[in-house]
Symmetry: C2
Subunit: 342 residues, 2 copies
DNA sequence: CTGTTAGCGCGTTCAC
DNA sequence: GTGAACGCGCTAACAG
């Protein structure tokens, strides 16, 4: 089934057009040093033979291999969609290829190393991976330009979020509303992100003169979306509402959790936001609760920025020292009816 | 910043290990025809020089290029995540690369052709793209194996969903519950999928002796997620509830729409499912309504199956005639409390 | 077992 | 303006 087609090359085109391969090459690369007449002939031959230059041979020949790779863990959050979207825009303009590096859910470091060992990529976008010294070394040893998303590292361009500050802003808002029993719904896993959000939560409480209480932090048990799912929020909220002294406000570490929490509250005839203040994270969908600004949009912007910078480095246009770009989630308070625009 | 590092090749390794390049190549390809002693030396040299074989040169030399590409439109539905997840599993096992082909939101056909023109990919997974004769021709003209997801085509392996039947099952259920005013929430765009779901809706109504009424079909105006968003469902439900004779049951073409519809109903103090029966599509999250089985899970399964078949074709292991694989959404009725497992 | 050599498909100096 | 020859980094027959 495969390889029954005698791959056509520039030689075939050259022969058919009655020129040399170099001429064909020039036409392909839009060199001005070709008479428009010959150019015509070549184009005709190309169309007739349905010739397509081989991307690999091409990249091999022209030293600067414009191959960009993106490494993403299997843990697929919805944000990756937006991220990809942002990146792809700039790739299309430059006829660049995007190679996918699959970091499994476990043993990601190993997977990455294996991928890198498989050969030259001139640019790499690392998403949501802790960059250990080992990884950093490997990264530098290959000649590629690197961009890191969702983690901070001195030696590479990195794009990250100030989760401490984001959480602090959210909880501070709840404090300023006069709440004194402020709970938090977290994901079960102890990710850096998670810990930082807890730090922000704690900081805001203390700044407001409230004491930090472990019992007010709850999480669900489902592993879907790494604990950031609606189900998880629902389950966690149930726990917070069964406390002797129930919470009156809750900071959730994802928008989906907030949705689940809202459901759990409604099932108990607790009204949101009248009886219960809810703050979501990542996205602001409705007026059901106060939310932190859309990470979704932010991700797309990050993708674009990262792509642009990486491309500049790859092409040698830029030689800036590694930059650190931080996005701090903004607090957005909605009081209008559901889905109404600002 | 780039190219200050004199790319090390097998020649360097060979020299350092005191062997010929072919020997290095053999070690790289795990050929048994190498004495373990030389193998050692080569490995040491490789490590010392931190040598990485160039994937492109490699692919160029070995005729069969193990490069798989996936073409996905920018229109990012959440399902693509699951799809990718399913595909990636099998790629990792075989050390295969996944190339991204970015089909913009518009002019996708052109984008695809341009991508294919850029050179050899031995396998292509086409997602959510209408395969015109032009495309089909282009696809065949290149030697690659092809898999089509979300569209049906005679000449290629295709994986699709029976949306007519899915919708029919959903609405039939509502009919059997005794409802006579059954509305439908659709996406605004006239996609094939959308039309089929409407067909199923209509078929079920007629089979139940109910008349089809245009006014009972509503959609939102937001373009987010191509009209399948929560916002869209919310907006559409508002319209259905403002009818002179409001609906008592609604079939939604996405789970998110159903969620939005549910919110709209609750805002008007209409209880679900007591006063209003709601059927979602694609995913079954909660007991808020009856739902059709998870497309999310299905997508992952489809991804796996498509990958396996494609890989078999690529490697020449399989030469089956093109297959057509259909997934029919199942109706799942949930009566238990939110998030309880079956 | 290991070294030599000829390509893979294309870009790129050079002479013509 | 155009053509021949060499090289990119590696694999795959061949010899030895």
């Amino acid at each position: 089934m495969p390889d029954d087609k005698p791959k056509i090359t520039i030689y075939d085109v050259a022969k058919r057009a009655g020129v040399a391969i170099s001429t064909v090459s020039r036409v392909l690369n839009e060199s001005p040093d070709v008479s428009s007449e010959t150019r015509q002939r070549v184009h005709i031959a190309i169309d007739a033979l349905n010739f397509r230059p081989d991307r690999r041979a091409r990249q091999l020949a022209q030293q600067g291999s414009p191959t960009l790779a993106i490494a993403i863990p299997t843990l697929t959050t919805p944000f990756h969609n937006s991220l990809l979207k942002g990146i792809r825009v700039h790739l299309r303009e430059r006829d660049l290829d995007l190679l996918f590096c699959d970091l499994g859910s476990k043993e990601r470091h190993l997977a990455l190393v294996q991928f890198l060992q498989r050969g030259a990529v001139s640019g790499l976008l690392l998403v949501g991976l802790k960059v250990t010294d080992e990884i950093a070394g490997e990264l530098k040893s290959m000649g590629a330009s690197v961009g890191i998303i969702g983690y901070r590292h001195e030696d590479f361009d990195s794009y990250w979020w100030d989760d401490v500050e984001g959480a602090r802003r959210a909880v501070t808002h709840l404090v300023s509303m006069g709440h004194s029993r402020i709970g938090m719904i977290r994901a079960a896993a102890d990710s850096r992100t998670q810990i930082r959000r807890i730090d922000g939560y704690r900081a805001a409480l203390q700044a407001g003169g409230l004491s930090f209480d472990d019992h007010l932090i709850a999480s669900g048990t489902t592993e879907k979306h790494a604990g950031y799912s609606e189900e998880s929020g629902y389950e966690a909220m149930g726990k917070l509402l069964e406390l002797d002294e129930p919470v009156t406000a809750v900071f959730c570490t994802s928008d989906a959790q907030a949705m689940g929490a809202w459901l759990a509250a409604r099932e108990r005839d607790i009204r949101v936001p009248e009886d219960l203040a809810l703050v979501g994270y990542d996205d602001v969908k409705t007026s059901r609760y106060v939310g932190l600004s859309s990470m979704d949009q932010a991700m797309q912007a990050v993708g674009e920025q990262a792509a642009v910078r990486l491309l500049a480095r790859m092409s040698g246009e830029s030689d800036d020292p590694p930059g650190s770009f931080c996005y701090t989630p903004e607090l957005r308070v909605r009081r209008s009816s559901a889905y109404r625009r600002d």
